[in-house]
Symmetry: C2
């Protein structure tokens, strides 16, 4: 019997708990635009400087995934949330990204956001695209060659959106 | 006979030269997501913190317009530039936005960018949409209701793109 995931907000000074996953995901160079050698302090600033917040998913005290939640724009666009998800390689295929997505949608609603937008879904990340579609997102844009994929070269990115 | 526009980079400590235009454009609440009461230091940080740069267009010593040029993403997306343009109300209808756009495309090429992307073109700003299309941009996305327009309420935004 597997214990349930527990998801909580990380304080900025706790970002070290998410860092091993962040570092490993970014190093792969196939899903995020962050430089593959992004350092801890840059990552901490990107993911925890208010109004951005980082959440982690833990099971038996081990961090298996994390996500970023923030307004997608300042001011007159801050009713639309933005989020990004990362799962530890060792924990993939267990539905953790789906759990993180569902949690972020609830959390965004709770914070008063009325929509969620992803700006940079790598088009070759087909499992993720399908997963976001199952969570109600639609593809509302496609930018040609906006991502330098580590192995595929210039790759389209998708803009995805849903109301909350 | 009108003297030509002269366009130059502003240092961060010179942002006051662009500030009257920035403040006035943002206060209108119809083209940018920045909060209408954005303060000088926030604007300076947004528009001049490297790698972002602000350029101003001057005629006879008067600043008539300005633009922001920066990478649209960090790391693996930093081959795509992003720009935003502002023209003084008193100087509209003189083709200054078009001159700024052309200058930014040249400047982006010179800096090694291979594409330009606008993330947040307000769909009701039809003159701007047509102008960017004349400069080679295509609409590659449309996000429903992502902008709280000062007078029209929730308004779609467009993502526009061109190769350089």
């Amino acid at each position: 019997m597997t214990n349930p995931l527990s998801i909580r907000v990380l304080r900025p000074d706790e970002f070290e708990h998410a860092w091993p996953i962040f570092r490993a995901v970014v190093a792969e160079g196939d899903t995020y635009s962050y430089a593959p050698d992004t350092d801890l302090e840059t990552a901490r600033a990107l993911w925890t400087t208010p109004p951005a917040r980082t959440y982690v998913a833990e099971r038996d005290g081990e961090v298996l995934g994390c996500y970023l939640l923030k307004p997608n724009q300042p001011g007159l666009g801050d009713h639309v949330a933005n989020a990004g998800y990362m799962v530890a390689r060792s924990a993939r295929g267990q539905g953790i990204a789906s759990t993180l997505c569902a949690h972020s949608l609830d959390e965004a609603r709770r914070q008063g956001f009325t929509a969620m937008q992803y700006n940079f879904v790598v088009s070759t990340n087909e499992g993720a695209v399908r997963l976001w579609q199952r969570h109600g997102f639609q593809i509302v844009g496609r930018v040609p060659g906006a991502f330098r994929h580590a192995t595929r070269g210039l790759t389209d990115i998708l803009v995805m959106h849903r109301l909350l």
